[in-house]
Amino acid sequence: MFRKRKFVCFLLLVFFLIAGCSAVPESKSIQNEETKPLNWDQSVSSLKGETITVLWTGDPQRKKSLRLFSKKTGIKVKEISVDYNSLYNKITVAALSNSSDIDVIEMDNIWGGQFYEGNIVTDLTNVIPKDYLDKFTKSSVESMSYDNHVLGIPLYSSTKHFYWNKELLRKANITSAPKTWKEFKEDSKKLKEKGIYASGWSWKQAESLVSDYVTLLYAFDGRFFDKAGKPVFNQGGGLKALQYMVDLLNKDKTVSPASLQWTESDVENAFSSGKIAMMTNWEGIYPEVNDPKKSSVVGKTDVGLIPGQGKVKSAAVTGTAGVAIAKNSKNKAAALAFLKFIGSKEFQVPYYLKAGWYPSLETAYKDSELLKADTIGKLNKIKEQYKYGVDRPNAPGYVNWSDILAAELHAALRQQKTPKEALNSAVKKIEEAIKGNS
């Protein structure tokens, strides 16, 4: 008995000694401070033979482009390909362990603040020339920035767009797509009279709900934060936007009620099967919507600007992802060469042609191959929306704020709270979160 106790005491002692040496939490340190500044104009020939590791959501076209990059530069690439849902965890876990195994990471636009403040990505503000960034679509460059810091190169351009079913609109004697949210509401009522669900939305309690709210908030000329950084979306345009959403769903009843448990892919499915007449959704729904095997609305749909309201012509939430250089990377120069390649026509044009992702490089839209490939004539309509991209706040606490906001928006949509109550509560909780972390 005594020996047993002695053994347990000994184990405990070892345990405390070893654990005590390193258990005190430390703020994430930067293991690999820049030894020499990155040079945008550095020749790739000096980097030949280096190997970089890229962590992103892979697809066959991206894989092909990696081979092209290696062939062109002599830099070898090791690819770690994961699905989007695992990406964030992979990146953060690698960063938490101070691993320098990953050189380039894919960064969604809402992670910018977290990745910058958390020392996960390298600040490229003084590395990438401003005139180079001017070659990209405005919304995509903004998506890759946080607090005036440039963090990466956009892989593609992405915002939500407005899609409609021409046939269903015709049935309700609607000759053109709505240009304002007021017109949208009126058209929705006409469609309802014909027994058609006018629209479907991604209003599941998730990020997709916040995305739709942000689109409407900016359309109604609202603001998320004031200049002092105080959340103000519970007044003005923010409040009008939520009231509008609640009215569409519960008063006008023109929205498919299933919207409350739908994300974007569910909305797309409903649109493709002709169950809803209008939707806002990300680009890239074509060619599926025009594929007879997957869609019953082939050739019956069109795309254009998301409606605006008053002096706002249009507003669309952005969803661009880009590539950034990991702060702990030991091959930053080679990683920078890779970023340069991603921003080039050599990547951007085939990425649209083969995978359907719209270029972030503005000049790519004049490419003859690209124009030739646009057989359905949607390219410029999609591109036009990129002028009106609006970002979700990508500050470090955004992921938490988004969860808070999604819960309150959902409560308002389910009529458990009035829009005013819901937004006041969201503002209060977000203020507490900001205060608690400052």
């Binding site: 703020s27 977290q114 958390g118 990020e207 448990q261 470090p396 969860d403």
Partner: protein, 308 residues
């Protein structure tokens, strides 16, 4: 005084034996060292570290100072509405799902314990839901619960339980979601309980049933007086294992909803790996662990009493 050479011989051989025993002991420890090291690094140390973190304000991604806050994280959590909502939902989920799984599992085990043609096929089939990944199970049920064309709505319409023109949105409300998660969890985990109880039933002696039959016991009397008392250890093990599993419910919820207050694990995960509030998340994890420890203590006591 001369010592007896026989005794001396004995002493030497017993010393040699002790030496050999000690050598074996050291060798065993040596072989155990790699396992101990891995377990220490991946299990014991993180537990200890999370305990330390739970007393710190430690927000990793916000470039803010890390500071010792004492028990503030614990008191904040215990005062937080979100935590109690998620705890209430977790307890409700655990209680109801384990109860239903036990009832269905018991009757499934009774059926599969009978001798009938194709019994082996049924025993294999029943494992299929258990073999599914929880996420796949979640996706499957998400499609079943789709409004309008989902199988659940269609079935209720077919049975005239709901109006043919009504289109309920099953997964719109977090309180409702828990009930639907229970349904899908019962479908998936009943086979687990069935298998445990079936194994227990097979060890019950047939003589007991024969004796009961001679005494005129009917079906329910046999269950009440023989099957359940004999099966009690298996039932307790099944309850405890499932309770611990159900209390940690997380992955299926991520398919059904983005609301982290649907379970304590979901809320803890989000605090730790979405917001990176590691101090707060560690405290939350420790509070949940204490709940679990309480359950385990109750289980050990019941098991001990049962064995005695």
């Amino acid at each position: 005084m001369f010592s007896n050479p026989l005794h001396k011989q004995k002493r030497i051989s017993s010393r040699a034996f002790l030496n050999r025993q000690r050598k074996d002991y050291i060798l065993a420890l040596f072989f155990l060292l790699p396992t101990f090291y891995v377990l220490f690094k991946t299990y014991i140390f993180p537990i200890y570290q999370s305990f330390i973190w739970s007393f710190f304000k430690y927000n990793l991604m916000e470039n803010t100072d890390t500071s010792f806050v004492g028990i503030r994280n614990y008191s904040d959590i215990l005062q937080s509405t979100e935590f109690w909502v998620s705890m209430k939902r977790t307890i409700y989920f655990t209680g109801v799902s384990v109860f239903l799984e036990l009832i269905f599992g018991f009757f499934c085990a009774l059926l599969l314990n009978e001798i009938f043609k194709g019994r082996i096929i049924f025993r294999v089939i029943i494992i299929i839901p258990w073999a599914l990944l929880t996420l796949v199970n979640g996706l499957l049920w998400k499609y079943i619960y789709q409004p309008g064309y989902g199988a659940f709505t269609q079935l209720l319409r077919f049975l005239h339980i709901i109006d043919p023109n009504s289109n309920p949105v099953w997964l719109s409300n977090s309180d409702n979601i828990i009930n639907f998660v229970i349904l899908s969890d019962v479908w998936k985990c009943t086979p687990f309980i069935t298998l445990i109880l079936l194994a227990g039933m097979q060890s019950i002696s047939g003589n007991l049933y024969e004796a009961a039959m001679i005494d005129g016991a009917g079906f329910w009397a046999k269950i009440r007086l023989i099957t359940i008392p004999q099966l009690l250890p298996s039932i307790i093990i099944a309850i405890v294992l499932r309770t611990m599993g159900a209390f940690k419910v997380y992955d299926i919820l991520t398919v059904f909803t983005g609301d982290p207050t649907t379970s304590v694990s979901y809320l803890t995960f989000n605090n730790a790996f979405r917001y990176f509030y590691l101090g707060n998340a560690s405290a939350m994890a420790w509070i949940s662990t204490l709940f679990m420890l309480l359950l385990i203590i109750i289980y050990i006591r019941i098991l001990k009493r049962n064995t005695e």
